[in-house]
Amino acid sequence: MSEITAEQVAHLAYLARIDLSPLEITDLTHDLGQIVDSIAKVSEVATADTPATSHPMPLTNVFREDVVVPSLTVEQALSGAPDRAGDKFRVPAILDEE
């Protein structure tokens, strides 16, 4: 069985700003544990010279030329905002960095 604990799941939920009930934490601790165990099985067959795969497609260097394309209008950009002031998004003050 994996080492995933309820504390880790609660911490992860906090970092991801997901509100979890105690029952959900219990369930997710179990589910995540199973996932981690399954991944561990893969590690057993992967030898040290098998590079970790982050992208399954064998493609690299897909670039875009540095050419300006039209942006959204200010109205379009702000259309999904819960709140605005003039042409800016308005958000609650969050005590963090200045």
């Binding site: 690299t60 897909v62 540095d66 960095e97 200045e98």
Partner: protein, 507 residues
């Protein structure tokens, strides 16, 4: 002073005393904003000063369906910057998500690089004012996108503490950055503050010479985070470090490093401990204040960006880019100083005023190096300061070279040339055109001068008598009157000659 600042004002130890007891260890993270036409992952314009939220799209706003695409020019600029810093260019590199929640990004992550930065293992050698050479090792230079700009509103101080709400402009969100991270810098000793300033200046100079960034610190194109820790003399255990952010001028880098050494020394000597934390530099009060402690907030859960494919810059491409590197700024400075024959102070003055390009172009346009230096760092810098603009935005090197030529061929005195300069700046045309339209050339017609001199001498008979009696210094009063009559448009030396001559000749 607001009470929050009173609380922030820490006790400081004398700098020399601090260095006696502790050894400072430094590290710098410098962000260089690239001057590509478009953002890092979308085609929105990368422009400073546009109307709020006019350069945004679903990709840089993190809207569903937005798909990032890597700007080739930004990769090219990053590789060139890395090469100029002596870095290795990675054969395989990829982007990663740095996850955090803060309204300066609407994506809820910054697209950055984690375990595969594009450039790594370089170094920059800087020269301090004492002549000491310091090699700063570069650990890595990676690419990332910039955050949007927050403005905190309400509250008494205009700062985040006590703010009621914040406004966000995402124009800067997604602009390409290269973050250059140094290795630990040991052995800095008393030079620590100067090393900080000189290192950041060197990075800025290199970025500017490459043309990959506008490199204006006042516009935030180059931003520095300074890491400082102290360890007691004789110890080889590293002290706890603080990371001071928001250090956005060369002078501030120097001041912030000095401040942190003095602050930390006082804390440690008083039996306290240093908290590993982010601190903010306050330009106005010259202090740092505690920000958030390094804790959960730094648990960024990096993972490879699934929407972007890895990069594998071919060795051919890297070598092709290496061929485009300009002469290293430090080597160029040595070459120019020797060619111009400037004393160290004269040359430093030009460099510190950011006028090397201007002087070089003026010399190329035919002016003498000394004259070019005097004009740029003197009158033009003075006018630029007064107007709050860059000196090289006032006149072109070609205009100045033409003005200098008019002085050296005797058409203008220095005083007249300053008036012509004002005309050129006011957009009245070339120096020759301003001379013609304002009628400013030196009066070289002796007839006109003699008439003015005779009138002045006859108007001051006592002075005339003194000159005739051999008191040549009395001529000053007459010369002044003549220069006034000629509205300054006369060569004072020639006037003096003629005054002495006429004093003997007139009836």
């Amino acid at each position: 002073m607001p009470s929050a600042e009173m609380k922030n004002r820490a006790e400081l130890m004398d700098f020399d005393k601090a260095l006696e007891l502790f050894e400072p260890v430094l590290g710098f993270e410098v962000h260089v904003e690239l001057n590509t036409k478009t953002k890092m992952f979308c085609g929105c314009a990368n422009e400073f000063g546009s109307g709020a939220n006019t350069n945004t799209c679903p990709t840089c706003l993190g809207l569903p369906g937005g798909l990032p695409q890597v700007n080739k020019k930004a990769i090219e600029s990053s590789i060139r910057l890395g090469l100029a810093l002596g870095c290795e260019i990675a054969e395989h590199s990829r982007f990663a998500r740095k996850n955090y929640f803060y309204p300066d990004t609407a994506k809820n992550f910054q697209t950055s690089q984690y375990d595969d930065p594009i450039c790594h293992d370089g170094s920059v050698t800087i020269e301090l004012e004492s002549g000491r050479l310091v090699t700063v090792e570069i650990e890595r230079a990676h690419m990332e996108d910039d955050a949007g700009k927050l403005t905190h509103m309400g509250g008494a101080t205009g700062r985040i503490q006590g703010a009621d709400y914040s406004l966000v402009d995402y124009n800067r969100g997604g602009v390409p950055l290269v973050e250059i991270v140094t290795q630990m810098i040991e052995g800095a000793e008393h030079d620590a503050p100067e090393i900080g300033r000189t290192y950041v200046a060197a990075i800025r100079e290199i970025a500017k010479a490459l043309g990959v960034s506008n490199a204006r610190m006042e516009e935030g194109n180059v931003r520095c985070d300074a890491n400082v820790s102290l360890r007691p003399r004789g110890s080889n255990v590293l002290g706890t470090r603080t990371e001071t952010k928001n250090v956005n001028s060369l002078r501030s880098v120097e001041r912030a490093v000095r401040y942190e050494i003095q602050r930390q020394a006082a804390v440690l000597a008083g039996g306290g401990t240093i908290t590993q934390e982010t601190r903010h530099w306050h330009e106005d009060t010259g202090i740092t204040s505690a920000g958030r402690p390094k804790s959960d907030a730094d648990d960024y859960r990096y993972f490879p960006e699934p929407d972007l494919l890895p990069m594998a810059p071919s060795r051919d491409w890297v070598e092709e880019l290496r061929l485009t590197l300009p002469e290293p700024p430090a080597a160029r400075r040595k070459r120019l100083q020797a060619a111009w024959g400037f004393a160290n102070l004269e040359f430093q003055d030009v460099v510190n005023s950011d006028l090397l390009d201007a002087v070089e172009a003026t010399v190329a346009a035919g002016a003498s190096a000394q004259a070019a230096r005097k004009w740029w760092t003197g009158e033009i810098a003075r006018l630029a300061n007064a107007a709050g603009v860059a000196a090289d935005s006032l006149v072109t090197p070609i205009q100045l070279a033409a003005l200098i030529e008019l002085v050296s061929d005797g058409t203008l005195t220095d005083r007249l040339a300053r008036q012509v300069l004002e005309g050129v700046i006011a957009g009245e045309g070339t120096p020759a055109e301003v001379v013609a339209s304002r009628g400013l050339a030196v009066v070289s017609d002796d007839g006109a001068l003699i008439a003015a001199i005779d009138a002045a001498l006859l108007g001051q008979p006592d002075v005339l008598a003194k000159i005739r009696g051999g008191k040549q210094q009395a001529a000053g009063a007459v010369i002044g009157a003549v220069m006034k009559a000629m509205r300054g448009q006369a060569d004072a030396a020639r006037v003096r000659e003629l005054v002495l001559e006429r004093a003997q000749a007139i009836e």
